[in-house]
């Protein structure tokens, strides 16, 4: 690993993640953990939205699939480390199945199909009592125990989540940097040109969506042992919108944008607690204002500001134009 400025920042970030929960109460530790879990889901959606340019409203449904599969398996005595890959794989396969018809046609059909899928998943979870516990959900799922390291304590579970999050980020980074990942970006910037350069746009978009869905499954799989109680309402359409907002607020297409966005979206209710019922209203207005005035999200805004302050070497303007040609 080369000692570059960026790696230094990453190390500082990791150190902060490790130090953050020390001496904090249960609630803060729980909030931090759920921030990481939602960051994973949002980073998955970022692959679909930010890199491949398609809207998915099914991220909460994939979280539901991951969470319920993990819950049902771990309740039957199967270890989390076995249940998790099954949950992730199922989400991946479901993503392929749903994405395939939707991505056959141009336009925002994926948004509708995923909207329908989220509603369908919610109906199945609510109606099939024998499997999912119906509206009462499932509870009492055990937290994974790795012999030397038992995640039963909240703080231990937090470090476990940090570990998974770091592994996941490294994997994601490899994907984004790989030829596939570059193809995703090419697709978002200019579909026709990407296609003329020999990129199979349909297959690449489908793959981006399926990998994003698998990330949703992983987040769900962590959600189960974190909350130890899951019910259909936790995965309703509103939560898909929340994850979408995390990506937009943070900055779609920036690698760590969704992490910032998830932080804002999860912390915002705490900050806006004094406004009581107006929270969602302020939230909605914030999103609209942000989209109108700062379409690249907070990370994009930060980049613009830092460029203005530091007066870094300016990329030649015609290069910027070149990307759009």
């Amino acid at each position: 690993m080369k000692f570059t400025k960026r790696n230094l920042w990453l190390l500082i970030g990791l150190a902060l993640l490790i130090l953050a929960p020390i001496g904090q109460g249960r609630y803060i530790v729980y909030t931090l953990t759920s921030w990481l879990v939602f960051s994973i889901a949002a980073m998955g959606l970022n692959l679909t939205l930010g890199y491949a340019g398609q809207i998915s409203l099914a991220q909460s449904a994939f979280m539901a699939v991951g969470a319920y599969i993990t819950a049902l398996l771990t309740l039957n005595g199967i270890h989390w480390i076995v249940a998790m890959p099954i949950a992730v794989l199922s989400s991946f396969v479901l993503g392929l199945l749903i994405g395939f018809p939707a991505l056959r046609v141009k336009g925002h059909f994926l948004a509708f199909v995923t909207l329908a899928f989220t509603t369908l998943v919610f109906l199945v979870l609510r109606n099939e009592d024998w499997l999912t516990g119906g509206p009462y959900g499932l509870s009492g799922m055990p937290r994974p125990d790795f012999g030397l390291f038992n995640t039963g304590k909240n703080i231990n579970f937090y470090y476990f989540t940090v570990f998974i999050f770091v592994i996941f980020s490294l994997l994601m980074y490899q994907i984004v940097r790989s030829p596939w990942g570059r193809a995703f970006k090419g697709l978002r910037e200019n579909e026709i040109r990407a296609e003329s350069l020999g990129v199979n746009t349909r297959r690449i978009t489908l793959l981006a969506f399926a990998i994003g869905s698998a990330a949703g499954g992983l987040a769900g799989s962590l959600m189960t042992p974190l909350v130890q109680f899951i019910e259909p309402g936790s995965f309703a359409l509103l939560h898909s919108l929340r994850i979408l907002l995390m990506v937009i607020v943070g900055g779609a297409g920036f690698f760590f944008g969704p992490v910032v966005g998830a932080g804002v979206v999860i912390m915002l209710p705490e900050v806006l607690r004094f406004t009581e019922g107006y929270y969602l209203m302020i939230y909605a207005v914030t999103v609209v204002v942000l989209i109108i005035f700062c379409p690249k999200g907070l990370v994009g805004l930060g980049e613009i500001i830092s460029r203005k302050i530091l007066k870094k070497k300016e990329v030649r303007k015609d290069f910027e134009q070149g990307a759009k040609l």
Binding site: I55, V105, F109, V113, L120, L244, M281, V288, I291
Partner: protein, 292 residues
């Protein structure tokens, strides 16, 4: 048999109201190439404007309805276009779609917080009661809904096809650049489209709210049904949206009566997936553009 006729008839009546919302949806799609995720809330809100007129301003029903229509045209038509669509249109469809989602949340929360979270009774627009035609009970309300929607849709089609403004709107939707060269004020036509959408949503609101009561969350399902009706029928056709709306209304009723009430909401969704899989341009739509 009698029951089946009743079920189909009332399905057609509800479906015709869905069609009004779905038509507005397709018009916006054609004019601005965007998907209005707040369409369901556009149908929910006018009913509350009317309730405000009746309960807080002491208006009679007819005046309150005019008041509601005026507010809808101003807020859902003109303000929506000016404040949200104009600055966002150049960023591409994605930002606008997400902004309409945020607007949907905002509208729901405003109603919940400042009016009520409970379902509100809403005055019926048309006579209640029923005819008994040799065993088949026909609700007057259903028949009136069907007739009103039919008149509105025929009127809209005539407006779009026969008047100069309507033809200019179509031209602007089909090819904005060419329309502009030929002297059509494209921006104004897009504004008109949003106003027409607001009027259609308001009419749908006046008709459907007496049936389902006025509630802040009622737009969620309605919006979803309107999308599905538009896609199933054909996104680029007024008559497509009409066919889609009627089909879903009837299917929904038949499922709820004869098959399953629990999965009633799932039927339109499955229909949607089937249509996208086998005939993505919709039942009556024309193929548009190319497949990816």
């Amino acid at each position: 048999m009698e029951q089946l006729i009743q079920v189909v008839l009332s399905g057609l009546a509800t479906g015709s109201i869905y069609a009004l919302a779905a038509i507005g949806f397709t018009l916006i799609w054609q004019a601005a190439q965007t998907v209005n995720f707040a369409q369901g809330e556009f149908v929910m809100l006018p009913a509350f404007f009317v309730l405000i007129g009746i309960n807080f301003l002491g208006m009679p029903l007819w005046l309150a309805m005019l008041f509601g229509l005026a507010l809808s045209v101003l807020i859902l038509g003109v303000a929506f276009k000016r404040i949200l669509v104009d600055p966002l249109l150049s960023h591409g469809g994605l930002s606008l779609i997400i902004a309409t989602m945020a607007v949907a949340i905002l509208m729901k929360e405003l109603v919940k917080e400042f009016y009520s979270a409970e379902a509100q009774p809403y005055p019926a627009l048309v006579p209640q009661g029923a005819w008994d035609l040799s065993g088949v009970i026909i609700s007057l309300q259903d028949i009136s809904h069907l007739i009103i929607c039919f008149v509105v849709i025929v009127g809209l089609t005539l407006f779009l096809d026969k008047t100069k403004v309507g033809r200019c709107m179509q031209a602007a939707a089909q090819n904005a650049a060419v329309a502009e060269i030929l002297g059509v004020n494209v921006k104004r036509m897009i504004l008109y489209t949003f106003v027409v959408n607001a009027v259609l949503a308001t009419l749908a609101s006046f008709l459907i709210t007496p049936v389902y009561l006025a509630k802040f969350s009622s737009g969620e399902y309605l919006g979803l049904i309107a999308f599905i009706a538009a896609i199933v029928g054909g996104f680029n056709q007024v008559r497509g949206a009409l066919a889609g709306g009627l089909l879903i209304g009837v299917l929904d009723n038949i499922t709820a009566t004869y098959i399953t009430a629990e999965y009633r909401q799932a039927i339109p969704l499955l229909l949607l997936i089937a249509v996208i899989l086998f005939k993505p341009e919709g039942i009556l739509g024309k193929p548009e553009g190319r497949a990816v």
